[in-house]
């Protein structure tokens, strides 16, 4: 007897715990208060358009109370919804107060019903969407595709007139030769590159860039300037090409270069 009673009590405790656990799982399974409301509304077994919002509010409040009695922590938004539904319930039950501004209880209820219907509708179409034939599952794309080669061809063109005008321009310019920069004292970047390229391979150590100026150009200031500029520009090209490192310890300090070792790349 006593044993049975004990067993019954124990069973009840287990049942209660299971119920509580089930409840926790259920709460976790809901995507927020609206989702819970939608589930509760199904128990009314009517078209969502004919749902009794008042009854639904009561169902929700009962649910929240039950959760409280089971000492289940409900997320804040569930409690906010409970408070709002309690308010809605009072608005629905009390006769409308003509002095009060704002929406009537019926308007609020209608909107809630609309929200539920809309959520349900979205779930229905989501299911219909996912039930459609899907690419890669029901229908398939071409397995052996061919790539379209995109070749970009630039053609240059000129007319005979362009050609003659160009020539005329040069020949006319001859008469004004003094205006033209003197080629003798111009060191081009191409020349500097051609000179630097074979040399930098031997620059295992940091070397002053100025030591790479072509012979005879470092004396005359003007030639030295153009050679320096060209050599510096050429060194930047080589840095870009990954052939050398370049550094300048501080402002106005000598610029130094060093070959990039083959195996450190």
């Amino acid at each position: 007897m006593a044993e049975d009673g004990f067993r019954v009590a124990a069973d009840e405790a287990v049942a209660e715990r299971l119920a509580a656990e089930a409840f926790i799982i259920d709460v976790d399974g809901f995507e927020g208060p609206l989702d819970l409301l939608l589930m509760l509304s199904r128990t009314q077994k009517v078209d969502l358009r004919k749902i009794s919002v008042l009854k639904l509010a009561e169902q929700y409040l009962a649910f929240v109370n039950q959760a409280k009695s089971l000492r289940i922590e409900l997320a804040a938004d569930y409690l906010v919804m409970a408070a709002w539904l309690a308010y809605l319930k009072s608005r629905l039950l009390l006769p409308p107060d003509p002095t009060e501004d704002g929406p009537t209880g019926d308007e609020l209820a209608a909107h809630l019903a609309f929200q539920l219907e809309r959520l349900q509708a979205m779930r229905d179409v989501a299911a219909r969407l996912m039930a459609r034939d899907q690419k890669g599952r029901d229908f398939f794309v071409r397995g052996a595709t061919e790539t379209v080669e995109r070749t970009r061809r630039v053609t240059f063109t000129a007319t005979l007139l362009d050609l003659m005008q160009a020539y005329a321009r040069i020949r006319t310019k001859d008469e004004f030769r003094p205006f033209v920069m003197d080629r003798k004292d111009l060191y081009t970047m191409e020349e500097a590159l051609a000179r630097l390229r074979p040399l930098v391979g031997y620059a295992g150590e940091w070397t002053d860039l100025m030591s790479y100026l072509p012979e005879g150009w470092e004396l005359d200031p003007m030639r030295r300037r153009t050679a320096t500029a060209a050599t510096f520009a050429a060194s930047l090209e080589l840095v870009k090409a990954g052939r050398i490192h370049i550094r300048q310890p501080e402002s106005f300090a000598p610029i130094q270069i060093r070959a990039v070792e083959r195996d450190d790349g």
């Binding site: 609020l108 929200q115 979205m122 179409v125 989501a126 969407l129 459609r132 690419k135 890669g136 029901d138």
Partner: protein, 225 residues
């Protein structure tokens, strides 16, 4: 042997354009070679001068009617896809796709049916916050993309579905979403603000504006980017 010719050629532009049967072959070759849908504009660009890809497409589509592969339209582009009823033969080709969460599926549906739609509107419809991961996943799958910003305070971004989405679900355009007409008729695609809120802000944006029934105009359901 040449494909059959169609005797009565109404166009006068025979001068330089290839014959219609030939144009159809060209469209066929181009569509077969590509996995991605090809736009009519690109077809025309790749075909010889004077070709009319749209017309060739139409007759090609009819030709493949009922065959094992089909010519389908996706938005403004076209592709060849296997007939859905033969999917069972293709187990070898099936690629396991990441299973979408319920939240992601619902969010996707809301974007598809309410586009362009803001995150706040999605949350209003679902009644819960939309997690960043959900949106990121859909963006990454290229099923949704950003649409125009809404001209309301804060200028929130909107989301719209992509043509990749349409392709995946075998839809010609967003107008062909299942049940769209009924939802619209039931007023469930309206942006209906809660009573008592200041509803001045949403006067300009019918979310369902893109779905305005207008079957005549060939405009693709996508809002301009």
């Amino acid at each position: 042997m040449m494909a059959e010719h169609d005797g009565r050629e109404p166009e006068q532009s025979l001068f330089e354009a290839p014959p219609e049967a030939e144009q159809e072959r060209m469209v066929e070759a181009i569509l077969f070679a590509a996995a991605e849908p090809v736009t009519v504009a690109e077809l025309n660009a790749r075909m010889p001068h004077g070709a009319d890809a749209a017309r060739a497409l139409e007759s090609l589509r009819r030709r493949y009617d009922g065959r094992g592969v089909q010519v389908v339209r996706i938005d403004t582009a076209w592709a060849i896809r296997t007939a859905p009823d033969l999917g069972f033969l293709m187990q070898k080709e099936v690629v396991e796709t990441r299973k979408l969460s319920r939240a992601a599926i619902e969010t996707l549906a809301i974007i598809a049916y309410h586009q362009p739609v803001t995150r706040a509107e999605i949350e209003e419809i679902r009644g819960v916050a939309v997690s960043r991961g959900t949106v990121d996943q859909l963006l990454e799958m290229e099923w949704i993309r950003f649409g125009r910003r809404r001209m309301t305070p804060g200028r929130p971004v909107t989301f719209v579905v992509t043509s990749e989405f349409l392709d995946h679900f075998g839809l010609e355009s967003a107008r062909d979403l299942p049940g769209l007409r009924d939802l619209r008729a039931a007023g469930l695609l309206e942006n209906r603000p809660p009573p008592g809120t200041d509803d001045g802000e949403d006067g300009d944006q019918g979310q369902s504006e893109m779905f305005t029934p207008d079957p005549e105009d060939g405009n693709d359901g996508e809002p301009p980017a």
